[in-house]
Symmetry: C2
Subunit: 147 residues, 2 copies
């Protein structure tokens, strides 16, 4: 098993603001993918659509201002059965986000790609909360031929 890890800090923000960006369709479509639909409550399924493909995630756990956890239930084969977790905390003027996408069966090349993309999407989350504007798909940062 292998994990993708990241850490970003959102300046002059509160954990609640970051939590809102992770748990509302408005927030998710502002930093991850404009085409995000579904139910963001625990047990609901969030549908994120990128161009031709997409990901479906069941909301597994929510602790307001502290934790968000999704189980991936649809999308690319490598993602099915993995989980995505955000741990959020205040640290002075910063909101710290510890990110983990865990449960990959093998460290395949697609996992390398997803790690870099998650980094740019978390920077997009940071920008959304700091400035009001993120870079969600289809305006996301291109990292390679795989987009």
């Amino acid at each position: 098993m292998a994990d993708i890890l990241h850490r970003v800090g959102v300046e002059d923000s509160t954990p609640q603001q970051v939590y809102d960006a992770l748990t509302t369709l408005d927030g998710l479509s502002g930093w991850w993918a404009e085409k995000t639909t579904g139910d963001t409550d625990v047990g609901g399924v969030i549908e994120v659509r990128f161009g031709p493909g997409g990901i479906d995630m069941r909301v597994a756990e929510l602790d307001p201002g502290r934790l968000v956890r999704w189980d991936v239930v649809g999308g690319s084969e490598e993602w099915i059965g993995t989980s995505v977790q955000f741990d959020i905390r205040q640290d002075g003027d910063w909101t710290i986000v510890l990110f983990r996408h865990e449960g990959w069966r093998e460290p395949v090349e697609f996992m390398h790609h997803c790690s870099t993309k998650w980094g740019t999407f978390l920077m997009s989350l940071k920008e959304l909360v700091e400035t009001g504007t993120g870079a969600p798909d289809p305006r996301d940062v291109r990292v390679s031929d795989w987009h």
Copy 2:
């Protein structure tokens, strides 16, 4: 043991250009840290300096246009004994870089931070080769309170 993985693609470039950016002081100081000194041949030690701290890496393996591997021999305690590897290949108009920073003893919070920073530095490498200008320390992209 845990690894940091990334994948970037450098458009309209050759593996040799990316290899040069990884194996010359000029290249390294153009995308990673302006204060880079040392010996970039196999067995040599490259010294990368960020503000107060830094990293020393022994060049463990070089395969021109294909592979660069460094063993970390100095710097923060968590990095000592880890290795950094770049696998490079041509894929159409793109040069694909598969990155691995392996051998972390524990997935500590600093590892989360380094994963995000590596992502931004690899984007800086991509920009350097594509445009001639990267974002090395101290002009690097800030991701959090830890910089």
